[in-house]
């Protein structure tokens, strides 16, 4: 799935990923491809993006808030 993590003046991450773990308003959640459409606010915590092959790498982004959207194309996070 396609993942974008962006601030108004900067793009932190853009690319394909296998899964995304984020601190959602109702608790931490891990999003896999084909997750149901969802919009949630984010709490303070760390967003973890895992590449398609787990061996390829893990990216971590500390956040203090923001909004996360899941649609059928992927995950979009605006901080």
């Amino acid at each position: 799935m396609h993942v974008i993590i962006a601030k108004v003046d900067e793009v932190f991450f853009e690319g394909e990923a296998g899964s995304v773990t984020a601190p959602g308003a109702e608790g931490e959640m891990t999003l896999l491809p084909r997750h149901m459409p969802l919009i949630t606010t984010l709490k303070k915590g760390i967003i973890t993006v895992r590449d398609v092959k787990p061996s390829e790498g893990v990216h971590k982004f500390p956040v203090t808030g923001g909004i996360l959207e899941v649609d059928r194309y992927g995950v979009t996070v605006i901080l």
Binding site: A6, V8, D9, L38, T40, D71
Partner: protein, 307 residues
Amino acid sequence: MAGLKAIKTKIRSMEKSRQVTRAMEAVSAVKMRKAQLRALSGRPYAKAAASILARVSGTYALAHHPLVAVRPLTKALYIVITSDKGLAGALNSAVLRGVSADIAGSGLAREDVSVIAVGKKAHDFFAARGVRIEAFHPQTDEITSENIALLVREAGQQFGAGAFDVVKIAYQNFLSTFEQRPVIHTIFPLSLVELQKLVADIVPVRGKFSKRASSGNGVFYNIEPSEEEVLTEILPRLAGIFVYHALLESQASEHSARMVAMKSASDKAGDLKRELTLQFNKARQAVITREVSEITGGMEALADKAI
């Protein structure tokens, strides 16, 4: 002849001025390119925010959110973005004139209008006219998300609390290197139509950030924890897009206007220098001619005596 020396000094000072204006032109050109590059970096964010907004638009919660409330106009707040420094042609005066005209057109008295000034020129202009300055921020080369959030917070809180019925932002819109035009946008009450128009302007038709189509309406979304809380998070961010865009446009405009102004100043200095050089040469020629005729005159006189 005294004129010769004076002309020579003028030529030299003209050459110095030309060096200065050419250096400023080069600096502005570099800064302008940087500002244009930065404008591209805000695009994925604008696109994503607009698509999330499309999901929650049309809901009951949005229509009743304090940041979109339309009230009868009694007090207005203007965020005016100008440069700190001059030497940029009609750049700032065009924005300031636009705001003055807008205030006059709204029919509000001076004491019902407040200004958040970004850039020294805006502050000086409105302070001199007795308009209340709500806040003043100097123009910076680096636009950070903290600056933007601060501006949005200042304006949003006042609007949400009902201190102002409308918040507008005025800046110089960058059309091309040679053409900028002052524009005034309404930020609060936040209008979805205006926002979508703005986003359509900034999102490129092709290239890196254009490939993700929006999934279309009619898809059912889970919204957590509630529509209200999502809106409270997202509306200030959307206003931030307006502010960010305005700051970038005005920076790109400032640098390109200064570049053009400095280019014409350099050209003019070059012309003047050429004219002065011509004048200098003529004066020099006149001096030589006079000296030659004096010498020949003296020789003639001596020759007369000898006979």
